[in-house]
């Protein structure tokens, strides 16, 4: 008997409440596995490097939020990431060290280390030097200068690839994990002081070497290593002997991370478990401490390749593409949002654009774009019923990006005639023409010189103008017409910010433009006077979604810590409704949600409605209804249905949440008042991941 668990491709139109819903499940979004995580203590940010070469910067403050994304490239591989101050370096199997420009979201420069593929990079605690471990067995030292890095020297070359490195906190010694052995080098002379031999796995064939995937060097001259035989070994680096051998798993121990006070170590394995070791004494009060295995976390289904132990949490990522933040409960006093497990499964950016008038959807994949036309269903139906589809959705166009860089952002105009996408080095604009059932695409060749690349793209509601967010929080406005594309104006923020913009929105009447950047700043520009209009007071948390109301011209902003604000553009202050929300506070169920609001849109039929969605729900926020009481039930749509009409009115509150469609990638409203809901099943993503380890469970 065959259960068809994969949903059939197609839109199933349901009539729900007052909306016809297009339920779209043909966006085959596939995230990329996580390969490296680096924590920056000073700025409380983590850099996550993925297998496809992209780097994401997450902030840990005021809820985990993906602030910046540097798109990947075809041949770029990331094996390790390293912070030096506020600079980010990465190395990969192409043999190059890349420094990233975090303001313009691109590599600043690349240096070839001439040692073959590079497996690891680490900075010394003083922040003056970088050490990279290469395939040819050399550890190369680079000096970190003001605006570049310079090769200083090689340490003694040894036979065998260097897979992991760790500096001693004093900066005088480095330990390198290689094949079948660990070597301790003296940095000043470059000579190897000790050679620690690692045993092969018990059942492994004789010629299969034991790979030391990760090493850490502690201040008390202890070295801890994790290798492919599944053991975590504690060595004494002064004498070069093994102190203790912990058998953690049957598969490999792939990653290690040491806490800052060196009392806790976490090890990530191929099974998807994260094992914690702590430096404790077996008898309370005694001084003889040793590394003892304490906790095991199983938050991943596939190999854990990257780990970081930040002060109060363990952040892990692996080939199952999820970033998991597991707070350590002993470091949190109260049970709150901060002490809950958080998983980041979908990116915190929109990958779906909707052409509202033309009923088209644009899907952004890393190397190509797809344009689909939505299907049509029968007109009549009762609420909650599935409506048969009269015309199935069809893929109109698949556009492959030129070059080997991944697409950074893309947009389609509401009328469906213009298509634009940008990579880190080029921006391309296309004109789409529809004749009968055919679609033809022509590239607009002469683009204004300012449009070289963009962080974010947005069309005006009448499709006559394109807005491209460029460097230093500036926005270029170009006009689109039959004669081509002309640069009209560049908007620059008054405070001269250097951070990149990640959200752009234009009002329906074409008078206002709002931008949000990584510094949590929201700037509003007037399109009639072409000047900066005002700035929304800076809130501590990043903006995850915002939109301008079509008639009232209020800017609705949703933040990463689930707070929502409404700012009146004309009056340049928060609206009364927003002040009411701040006074009364939001319901704790709303604040407990662990995925950010990804899109804000409005209901053309009812000006009081605001439609928001996150990964697991979408909500119709009715500003005419009272706010929910703290003690009342928040998710009350089902109970309201069962109540009679009179009672319903007393129990109704503003937040009408629907959890029918999940996991959501995008919810938008079309011009014919129907709702488009783009879902992506997590099971479909799991089905396409690489192979997990074979677990033998009793009675299966």
């Amino acid at each position: 008997m065959v259960f068809s668990d994969k949903p059939k491709k197609g839109t199933i139109r349901r009539i729900m409440g007052e909306f016809k819903v297009h339920r779209v499940r043909f966006f085959d979004y596939m995230p990329s596995g996580i390969r490296a995580i680096a924590f920056n203590r000073q700025t409380e940010r983590i850099a996550v490097g993925r297998v496809d070469g992209s780097v994401e910067i997450f902030t840990l403050l005021y809820n985990l939020f993906q602030e910046k994304v540097i798109p990947g490239k075809e041949q770029r591989s990331i094996e390790a990431l390293c912070w030096v101050g506020e600079r980010l370096f990465s190395v990969g199997l192409s043999g190059e060290i890349i420094e990233f420009d975090l303001h313009n979201l691109r590599p600043r420069y690349t240096i070839d280390a001439y040692g073959g593929p590079i497996w690891t990079i680490t900075a010394n605690p003083q922040g003056t030097h970088l050490a990279v471990g290469c395939e040819d067995g050399t550890v190369k030292l680079f000096e970190v200068l003001e605006d570049k890095i310079q090769f200083e020297r090689n340490l003694d070359r040894k036979k065998g690839r260097i897979l992991s490195l760790s500096w001693h906190p004093s900066g005088t010694k480095i330990v390198a994990g290689m094949m079948d052995m660990i070597r301790v080098f003296d940095v000043k002379t470059g000579h190897a002081i000790h050679r620690l031999l690692v045993d092969k796995a018990a059942g492994a064939p004789r010629d299969q070497e034991c790979v030391v995937w990760s090493v850490v060097y502690l201040a008390n001259d202890t070295v801890i290593s994790g290798d492919s035989s599944g053991k975590v070994k504690v060595w004494d680096a002064l004498t070069g002997t093994l102190i203790k051998n912990h058998d953690v798993t049957k598969w490999d121990v792939l990653a290690l991370s040491l806490s800052q006070d060196e009392t806790s170590l976490v090890a990530g394995t191929s099974e998807g478990t994260v094992v914690q070791f702590q430096f404790l004494s077996s008898v309370l009060g005694k001084e003889d401490k040793e590394w003892v295995r304490t906790r095991t976390f199983k938050n991943h289904t596939h190999d854990v390749r990257a780990l970081a132990e930040v002060d109060t949490a363990i952040i892990s990522g692996g080939l199952d593409t999820q970033l998991v933040v597991r707070p350590l409960l002993e470091k949190h006093d109260i049970k709150s949002q901060a002490s809950a497990l958080r998983k980041v499964q979908f990116p915190h950016r929109r990958l779906v654009s909707c052409a509202k008038k033309a009923q088209l959807l644009l899907f952004q994949y890393p190397s190509h774009l797809e344009v689909w036309r939505l299907g049509e269903g029968e007109e009549e139906g009762t609420p909650g019923e599935k409506v048969p589809v009269r015309r199935i959705p069809e893929k109109l166009l698949q556009l492959k990006a030129k070059g080997d860089e991944h697409i950074c952002c893309s947009a389609v105009s509401p009328c469906g005639e213009w298509l634009v996408y940008s990579t880190t080095s080029s921006l391309r604009l296309y004109k789409l023409q529809y004749e009968n059932n055919n679609i033809s695409i022509t590239k607009v060749s002469k683009l204004p010189k300012v449009l070289r690349w963009a962080h974010q793209l947005c069309f005006s509601a009448d499709s006559s103008r394109l807005f491209a967010a460029s460097g230093r929080s500036s926005v270029h406005m170009v006009s689109l017409g039959p004669e081509g594309c002309k640069h009209k104006h560049t908007f620059k923020p008054k405070n001269g910010s250097t951070q990149p913009i990640h959200l752009l929105t234009v009002s329906e009447n074409g008078l206002w433009l709002a931008t949000a950047n990584s510094d949590c700043e929201v700037h509003i520009y007037s399109l009639s006077t072409l000047k900066s209009h005002c700035t929304v007071p800076v809130y501590r948390s990043g903006v995850t979604a915002m939109a301008i109301h079509p008639t009232k011209n209020n800017l609705f902003i949703a933040h990463a810590d689930q707070q929502v604000f409404e700012f009146s553009i004309e009056l340049e202050q928060y609206t009364d409704w927003s002040r009411k929300v701040q006074r009364e506070g939001l319901h704790f169920k709303w604040l407990e949600r662990d995925t950010p609001i990804m899109n804000v849109t409005f209901n053309p039929r009812n000006p009081d409605h605001i439609i928001l969605h996150d990964m697991y729900m979408f909500c119709v926020l009715d500003q005419s209804l009272p706010l929910p009481d703290k003690k009342s039930q928040f998710f009350n749509q089902l109970t309201l249905k069962s109540l009679p009409e009179q009672e319903r009115k007393t129990h109704c509150h503003a937040f009408k949440v629907c959890k029918l469609f999940q996991p959501l990638m995008c919810v938008d409203v079309l011009e014919d008042h129907s709702l488009v809901v783009v879902e992506r099943s997590l099971l479909d993503i799991v089905a396409k991941l690489p192979a997990p380890v074979k677990q033998k469970k009793f009675a299966t």
Binding site: V2, F3, D5, G116, P117, E135, D252, T301, A687, K694
Partner: protein
């Protein structure tokens, strides 16, 4: 003497008798008579001769080895000459300035091999060696070629350690099935739908599903 030994022994094996005779004769001679007188000159001569012979033999051996080595060396030189391009082409290449790129050795070997292949085309056109005709083209060896082979080897190493021989890996189907069986709401094993089925086959599968359900009285028709 011979008479006495024959008569003493009488008739018997004639050949052995003769041999024994000879031996006895010699022994007898060496026992009874004084040793032969060997001239000092003769012995000196024979000793010197034997020494000379030994030296000669040594010299001959050395000569033959030297010959062998010389022949081998000539052969190698000829081979090398065959592999290199004709002199005028080499001169022309030397004339262009050398770029200081860090091209590792393997790249140079590849270039040499490529040049050796082309040599057969060049030989008959020695006068026109400058213009490379027919099936030849000279391209620079890009640095990326070797970098990408190193990169590919490194990626193969990681792949083999993760998914190669001896690693015990399962499929995602098994993972999801185990979750179903061990989870709170126990369910049957996962089976991914085969999207490559044609519409006819899909309809058949649906019909058989419905029949099975009806048979098990799970749904009412």
């Amino acid at each position: 003497m011979a008479e006495t030994s024959e008569t003493q022994r009488g008739s018997g094996n004639p050949s052995s008798e003769v041999m024994i005779e000879n031996n006895t004769l010699r022994f007898d001679s060496s026992d009874d008579e004084a040793p032969e007188e060997v001239n000092f000159e003769d012995s000196k001569r024979s000793a010197l001769q034997s020494v000379k012979d030994a030296l000669e033999a040594g010299r001959r051996e050395k000569k033959t080895l030297k010959e062998k080595r010389r022949r081998k060396q000539e052969f190698f030189l000829e081979q090398k000459k065959r592999r290199l391009l004709p002199e005028d082409v080499l001169e022309e290449i030397d004339a262009t300035p050398i770029r200081h790129d860090a091209i590792p050795c393997s790249a140079e070997n590849e270039v040499e091999k490529g040049k050796a292949m082309d040599l057969s085309d060049l030989k008959p056109i020695k006068e026109q060696a400058r213009s490379l005709q027919a099936n030849c083209s000279v391209t620079t060896v890009k640095h990326q070629i070797t970098a990408s082979t190193h990169q590919k080897e490194a990626m193969d190493f990681v792949q083999s350690r993760f998914y190669g021989q001896g690693t015990r890996r399962a499929t995602n189907n098994e993972l999801l099935s185990l979750n179903n069986k061990k989870g709170v709401n126990k369910g049957a094993a996962f089976q991914f739908a085969n999207t490559k089925l044609s519409t006819v086959e899909r309809e058949k599968a649906e019909k058989s599903n419905k029949r099975w359900l009806h048979k098990k009285k799970l749904i009412s028709t």
